[in-house]
Symmetry: C2
Subunit: 359 residues, 2 copies
């Protein structure tokens, strides 16, 4: 080897011995190019914040052991919420809880998450670090590692700051088969708590409403709550859903259609915080259509309703759980709301989009 | 029930009996809201094109049986390629092969993919259908279902047409442990074919270069090729990588660092099509740094090199496979290129980003 070549090697080796340090204040296209800037970003920010043994090899795929014989559940979400940070969370914590909850709703415990970031050139590195740290904290609370990831950078003006896609792999609990086809007339419908907080928190956080109220997003991972309900009721739990985008009304419509049954809701029994009800009324929005990110709907056999309610209420995330309705044979595929005045109205799927980009 | 209520119910029931039909010509915010427009888009476009039993329930999570005792691999990619359609593929087929390949590189056969779409308001529905159909075709070729998905719509100007995140779950083959830490001096480095076609096809497809050449992306799923190599060589295969963003130079640097060894490349043995070499020369880009989306790098024990080469060449996707270098002890962590003129130069990680958004 020539002298010059040896000098080059020594210089590169010295540079490599230094721990990766992210000196940039904003994200540039080079951070998405797969070269040395990408490597620094991944090592000094993503791997540093999300630190766990599955992620450590920084390979494109993570390999994990699944419980023997378990069925595997998988899901993906794109998070495009605006603003990126809001009372009760941010796009990072929201991405984690959304994916953990999608797995929980099929009776699966999350084994690993993966996350892909689409970042707009010029995004502040410190803001990215804050969001990834929040993601890491949410993953720790949910007890699941972020095992692999991908980072892309697009030119200024080609994205809205940051989008995050999160996918998850989980192991479905033995003996649990959550399927709306199993719903029967007489089954009861429960919710784990008050409705509409996430959507209204986002609307208020945008600051373009002439409305002040202290509403905090309910975003949370429901794995522990689901464990309690399934431990208490086993196969008497017909079906679980998280009423996110489109709210309670949308998931109940989906369940009623899939079951070929009707769901009758008792309006007075549906828990809504007064500040959320007030904000909804002022904005002309029905809280039944507003997104939740830390609530679940459970349809359970009638004999299990007390056990399910007690199991939900035993968890801090289910403290305000309530029985809100029951399944009937007629009219099939429909959700009816029985009002406090003795009338009833059809609660249909939403047309249009009163609340864009709430998750 | 009152007469008026009954009429409402009948009208809704009639509407629901009609098969979902997507009448819109462009995507609107309502398609991302979770209500009836979302449902129509999912049923009439995504589920119709990607049609498979795992996806059919249209739940947020899909549940599948994994082979008993298998280790599970998982990965995620965000695709932000521009243009969305290019010679040899589009963002849909690219998203599928990228994820299948990430799984294949850890010795895993893809069991299921999931896909999340971030769509800009105003995107043409027919274009979306074409891309999703291409995704479905690529998934069929790779033998893997798209089992679950998510769709978000952002306002005009807040994304660049379409981004797709794809995640995958695979089962790692028994007895296979692909890990760069297993690389030893004396091991050989193979590539499955000619380099640089994807990146150069994208650059040319952008049309802003004063250069005309017929270069087609090599994007393809490598699951079958990996099966052949692992069948032929088993644990003599130390490590597989797909040289995507950052190209061959980047993955070899990562391997050399992880192995604490040196990789010596024989420049004359590296297969590059003349039209790619010509375009690279005109643009001042080194083909070693240009992305591939249907090629793999294999590091194999010396006794397995002939079997590995034969296995690669037996597959149409590996017809131009070649042995391009070998692993040496010194200098650790470095990649050296031995040129046709007898000299050698360090091939380091790329600084900057000459080829943004090629995947």
């Amino acid at each position: 080897m020539e002298e010059r070549e040896r000098e080059v090697l020594e210089r590169i080796e010295r540079a490599r011995r230094r721990p990766a340090r992210l000196r940039d204040e904003v994200i540039t296209l080079a951070h998405g190019a797969g070269g040395s800037a990408s490597r620094t970003l991944v090592e000094a920010l993503f791997a540093a914040e999300l630190d766990n043994p599955l992620l450590a090899p920084l390979a494109d795929s993570a390999v994990l052991a699944a419980p023997a014989g378990a069925r595997i559940a998988t899901t993906i979400d794109a998070s495009v919420v605006t603003p990126l940070e809001f009372p009760g969370g941010d796009i990072g914590s929201l991405a984690v809880s959304g994916t953990v909850n999608d797995l929980a709703m099929v009776g699966a415990r999350a084994l690993a998450l993966t996350a892909a970031f689409v970042i707009e050139e010029g995004f502040a590195v410190e803001r990215l670090r804050r969001i990834v740290a929040s993601m890491a904290a949410a993953a720790r609370v949910a007890g699941v590692p972020v095992a692999a990831g991908d980072t892309k950078v697009v030119e200024r003006g080609k994205a809205d700051g940051l989008f995050i896609a999160t996918a998850g792999v989980g192991a479905v609990r033995d003996g649990i088969e959550l399927d709306p086809a199993g719903i029967r007339p007489g089954d009861r419908v429960l919710v784990s708590g008050t409705l509409g907080e996430h959507g209204m928190a986002i609307m208020l956080a945008r600051g373009d409403l002439a409305l002040e109220a202290e509403i905090v997003s309910d975003a949370a991972s429901l794995g522990g709550v689901v464990d309690r309900v399934l431990d208490a009721c086993g196969p008497a739990v017909r079906c679980l859903r998280d009423p996110t985008r489109g709210g309670l009304a949308t998931v109940l419509n989906e369940l009623a259609r899939a079951a070929g049954a009707s769901i009758a809701l008792d309006e007075a029994a549906i828990p809504v915080r007064p500040e959320v009800a007030g904000a909804c009324e002022l904005l002309g929005i029905d809280p039944l259509y507003v997104a939740n990110e830390g609530k679940l709907v459970a349809v359970v056999a009638p004999e299990a309703v007390d056990a399910a309610l007690a199991a939900l209420r035993a968890d801090p995330l289910g403290a305000r759980a309530a029985v809100i309705g029951e399944v009937r044979a007629e009219p099939p595929g429909m959700v009816l709301l029985e009002t406090a005045f003795g009338g009833s109205r059809v609660v249909d799927l939403l047309v249009g989009n009163p609340l864009p980009r709430i998750c």
